[in-house]
Subunit: 372 residues, 2 copies
């Protein structure tokens, strides 16, 4: 039995069970009926991994040894994210789809048995815990050869609706602390499947960088009574020289203290804690700026650009008044044939050295002549 | 005029001026006389970069735009770290050398004009500052085709003496906060020169990861009265199952919460704040364990292994009683043909997902049969 749910912007969601018990969700705007059945053999789900506390720096590290055997850059005809055609049984039973989101087959984090609680952290004595969380795969289109930047505005709107729906639904799980939709693009950043897709990681603990954002926001609130991200956005709008694109609802800029050769932050003018809280008009204005930004990035060198695109959202249960939704796109490509590597200073010390001024990077992005 | 200074273990240091005003220091055990003169044209030194405060996470980011044009994987005959032979004028004027350390030609950080002070941090209002610090290049051997693991124990002892000497001397500079000797090895981690060498970055600010180590150490001291790293080392010795190598003065282990497929920490049994404070016996016992560890790492897949080797030391001016010297070697190689990438979760959230249990990694390292 399919469940059909109506979302915004005419998007419907249809849920189907996969043969191994996972769920796939189809997001459609054309009222397509989703009846195809997963014909694959049942297989055992991997067991849950382990969280270990690295007390040297007070951070959780997730251990997911079952991921060692995951699929690695398969040829196109074996792509598990393509629709199922004939005998090629993929993750997606339907013969075509618009946007589909399914539970990751090799999840780094997965829902725990009931009664789960994050252990109290207390230095080296901190006990281990099951690596609780949710990992989902977001397929942007059934067209294997496309990239996010090639989607139509309507398709981006459907992807946004899927992200919003997943954020709203995963937020209800009591073991979730924060939800992180992201995309890794390009073999340079370790992508193992080239089909256009992103992922959602929902963590049961506050990851280190989110924790630092929260601490900074709390300190700023205490010192000034204001919301840190709002002040940062106001500075970017006032400085103007690092702005890359904007419309009535969104601003895209290279941040003042960018740490990658190309780094673009995209923020709604009307601040919200997460994707689910975005207003209808902001949602409708998102596809144009998203596509402009990604096409400017691609246009800098006119080669496929590796990037990581990350949605930062407020934690699910607390500090939602001081943490703001924004999208960070970072690229390690500093020239055709040259990448920025996170080596000794960045990787071991966390000290970023930027070879390019953010203003120069913003200039290059603005100067791209967009097609069409 | 050369200045000659006597160090431990029969090592002497001879300083020479380079044509552009930088300094090169030769470390020898054979009383070699270092008279060769840098014949190259004088050239202007790059200007100092800029520190910008990323108030979103309260971290300094260094901007060094002059580094864009640095030398990138030159052919062997143009290697700037080889000795000068005939017309090929390199960074090292002598026709052969043991260990040489010189000021980096494209430094990310450099000594400031007098009167420098790190600005008070206060959110988005924090002012910029000159990117003060010291960047040096440490050439391990004049033999272009070798790697650290191929050095003789005597040569490693001389490298160690050079690190110790640089740490002691740079510590005296009033604008230095912490000193970080490290090696990036392999194109996979962005090495731009394949000649066996490491670097020293001395920062005028506490880098984010060092700051987290310090905060954890302070919290542990307050909670227990003990030194965090000593407790962590004691656990590794007690647990035993992650120990990779040891001798009377050093212990090498895969840490309990390792975040890379291969990660080895090497610590002196007798805790010290930094390299300069190491006792004579610990120094003499270092080459054997260093070579064993790096050869085990190389032996896992019998292919050249990309790694980052990082010396973590106490800050120069404070908390020297609770921060401990240790050497962290991390490799992103998870299999021949497969790397671990720091993608969305690691890069944007700081949340590491480890595909291999640290105990399995330690097993693989221990099972390597060493040659000779």
């Amino acid at each position: 039995m399919s469940q059909i749910k109506k979302l915004s912007a005419g998007v419907t969601r249809t849920d189907k069970a996969m043969s191994d018990g996972r769920t796939i969700r189809y997001y459609d705007t054309d009222g397509a009926s989703r009846d195809a059945v997963d014909q694959r053999q049942k297989e055992d789900q991997p067991t849950i991994g382990e969280l270990r506390f690295d007390s040297l720096v007070n951070e959780w590290v997730a251990m997911a040894p079952h991921r060692q055997t995951r699929v690695f850059l398969p040829p196109k005809e074996l792509c598990p994210l393509c629709p199922t055609v004939g005998e090629s049984l993929t993750e997606i039973p339907e013969p075509r789809y618009n946007v589909a989101v399914f539970d990751n087959r090799s999840p780094s984090l997965r829902p725990p048995e009931s009664g789960w609680e994050l252990p109290k952290t207390q230095g080296p004595q901190t006990s281990t815990a099951p690596a609780a969380g949710v990992c989902e795969v977001v397929c942007y289109t059934s067209d294997h050869g496309k990239s996010f930047k090639d989607l139509s505005p309507a398709q981006v709107r459907t992807v946004l609706e899927a992200w919003r729906d997943r954020t709203a639904e995963i937020s209800k799980l009591d073991f979730i602390e924060i939800i992180f939709p992201f995309e890794n693009r390009g073999e340079e950043v370790g992508v193992t499947l080239s089909h256009p897709h992103g992922q959602i990681y929902a963590y049961s603990y506050l990851p280190p960088r989110a924790e630092k954002m929260l601490e900074s926001a709390q300190a700023h609130k205490k010192a000034t009574g204001r919301v840190l991200f709002d002040d940062l956005l106001a500075r970017e709008i006032k400085d103007e020289l690092r702005i890359v694109a904007q419309n009535a609802h969104w601003v895209a800029f290279v941040p003042y203290a960018a740490r990658y050769p190309f780094e673009i932050h995209v923020a709604p003018r009307n601040p919200v804690p997460d994707l689910a809280a975005l207003g209808e008009e902001a949602c409708d204005a998102f596809p144009s700026i998203a596509l402009e930004v990604l096409n400017r990035l691609e246009g800098v060198f006119n080669i496929p650009m590796a990037y990581i695109a990350s949605w930062h959202q407020a934690p699910v249960k607390h500090d939602r008044d001081i943490m703001r939704l924004h999208w960070e796109i970072t690229s390690v490509r500093r020239a055709p044939g040259k990448l920025k590597y996170l080596a000794g200073s960045e990787s071991s010390m966390g000290a970023f050295i930027m070879d390019m001024r953010p203003e120069q990077s913003a200039d290059q992005l603005r100067n791209v002549v967009l097609g069409k």
